[in-house]
Every structure is written in C-alpha cells, then in structure tokens.
Symmetry: C2
Subunit: 203 residues, 2 copies
C-alpha cells in the first residue's frame, strides 16, 4: 500500500531528526513516535527494535557524511579548483545538516566496531584525490606535503564550525545566533583562502 510506504518514510524522517538531535542513548522511542505523529507500537511494527531503526538512520547519515567527490576529483580542473569545489560542496552539506558531524562522530566513537561493518558498504576511494595531489607535488606546483593530513585538516576546519557551534557562539560571538550565521557564511571563503595559501610552493 502507498500508506505503508508513506508511514515508513515518515518514521525514518522523524528518527533521523531525533537521533541526530539527541543521539542513540539520549533518544526515546516515544520521542520518535511523537515527531512522526504516530503511535509508539508502530515503530516496532515497521522496524522491530530501536537498534534496527537506528541502523537504518545511521547508514544513511554515514553515507551522506562522505560527499560524492568522485566527479570533482576525476574532472580536468586544477587542484586549486578541486579543493575549492570540495570545500564549497561540503560546507553546503553541513549547512543543510548542521548536526550531522557531531552525530556521526559521537556514535562512531561510542561504538567503533560498527564502522567496520559499514565500511564494506561504503566504497570510498581517496586515492583519486591523493593521486591528484601527489602529481601536483611532483610538478612542483604545490609544496611537499602529506595528502592525508591535508584532507583531514580541511574536513576538520569545516566540521568544527558546526560541531563547536555552542562554544564558538558563546566565546567568540556574544552568544548571538545572527553573528553565528554570519560567521558560517564567511567560513567557506576563509577556509579556501587558508588552504590555497598553505599549499603554495613559494618559499
């Protein structure tokens, strides 16, 4: 029935919202039922247990956490453009899903074994990007650096602006939501500038 599918989708959507907000341990099945506007028993009818419902949500979120960068990386633009494009797309993703980083990082640290299962589903090929970077190093067009560290640095700079929101807001921005939004809107440019400056080969 269409109604069946609609309900299942409604549950997944509600679960996504509540799990991301409160985390697995802090979330109650009742919270999800309320958010979905249905009864608690229906959750178990569709997903059998809290764990299974969580898995469905988590796998989706985890996939999203790693943006589709294959097209960017495979394309024929300069490394600078690739990095700029990556930061641009990743920040957009985080703006739309501000709780995603803290959600993923938290669950993955509380339950590190889980990630090992998921990795099999998730075919990520960092070598495409790494190859791009190494080539530029050999060209001499950027300075010698470890591509893995560069990527981790970029992701860290993007993520912390969101995972650290309450801290940033309080200590740096007078606890003003408005100033925080402004800060986030500047962030793309600031990160891109920082990264591009940092990889230049001028001594």
């Amino acid at each position: 029935m269409e109604l069946k599918i609609e309900t299942e989708e409604k549950i997944l959507q509600a679960a996504k919202t509540v799990f991301q907000q409160k985390g697995f341990d802090g979330c109650r099945m009742q919270d999800i039922a309320d958010e979905a506007g249905i009864n608690k028993a229906l959750l178990h009818y569709y997903f059998r247990s809290k764990d299974r419902l969580f898995d469905a949500v988590f796998k989706d979120a985890f996939r999203k956490f790693f943006p589709k960068v294959q097209e960017i990386m495979a394309s024929d633009i300069t490394l600078e453009k690739k990095l700029e494009s990556f930061i641009d797309k990743y920040m957009d993703l985080l703006i739309d899903n501000p709780m995603l980083p803290i959600f993923i990082l938290n669950e993955v640290n509380r339950n590190p074994e889980k990630i090992t299962e998921i990795i099999n589903l998730q075919v990520i090929n960092p070598n495409l990007l790494f190859g791009s970077i190494i080539k530029e190093i050999e060209n001499g067009s950027i300075r010698k650096l470890d591509p893995r560290h560069l990527i981790i640095s970029i992701i860290g700079m993007c993520i912390f602006a969101f995972a650290g929101k309450p801290i940033i807001k309080n200590f740096l921005l007078n606890n003003s939501e408005e100033e925080y939004l402004l800060f986030i809107s500047q962030r793309k440019k600031e990160i891109t500038e920082l990264v591009l400056k940092s990889i230049t080969n001028i001594k």
Copy 2:
C-alpha cells in the same frame, strides 16, 4: 578523614573515565561504581545524583578543554612562535586526553544551555591572542585574515584527528592502530607547517 577524600577522588576519576567513554546518556551509575571498585550507593552518598556527579566531571573537563594559553600569548615571542607553541601544547593535551573533544562537543551540543552557566566560571580572553594577530596584520608581516576563523581552523585541525579517529583509522590507515599513532605523531608538524604557510603575506 583521609579515607573519605581518597574515595571521593576515586569516584571522580572513575566517573571521568566512564563519562568520557560513554557520554552522560550512555553511562550507568553501576558502570562508574564498577570502575571505582565500590558500591553504587556510595556514589549517591558522595554526589547525591548522577547530574551532580556529571557536573563535577564536566566542569573540570571543560576547563581543561581550553588550554592555558595566557602565558604563551602574553609573552614576547613572534606570532609564528606563539601559534607553533599553542599547537604543540594543545596536541599534547589531546594526546593525553583523546576522548576529551568528542565528550565536550557532544555534551555541549546535546545541552547548549549548560555552557551558558559555565561560561561565567571560565574567564577566557581571546582578545590577547587576537590583538597579537591584528598587530601583525597591520605590520604587514602576515596577510589580512579574520583572527577568529584562524583560531577555529587550528582547533578544528587538532581536534578532528582525535574525534575522527575511527574514521581516519578505517578509511586512511588500514585500520591499523600503529599507523594511527604514527599519523598523530606527524600531525603537530603538519598542522604547524600548514598554518604558518597560510598566514604569510607573499602573493
């Protein structure tokens, strides 16, 4: 009595360990009692409630999360040396407390009001560092940039190496703990290099 103090300290130590590992919601009073090698009722005898015990642990952790940088920033060394010294000390702190970032970030996001209470205890003066940076910009010795973004970038780069450990290990380092430790040991130098390159004023 000395015994009293010893027990209280034992509880705090155990609570710190377990809360950081599992988070407030995922942690059970029984877990802490086990870790401390005492009875569950004793926890309530000393700290009355889970909330109060958590507050004691959290305040301590939060204070630690912001390293004492006053001396560094107030000293008479170059900005480059200041940043290098900050990264050095902060990374050392995180190496000793690898779960600290995910713990703080998680709790602060789940309960953003809490930070507003704590901020009153915590006198942080970012202006000391910011002033240092702004002066160098006016000197023309570093490029024009927003000091706030620079700091958030540095902290993000440091933190993500730890908060993202399971992900980094799995996707970048063949799930090898040994390689991860190596990666962390290189990280100080990589971040410092990246930061110092990024702020230079050469076009």
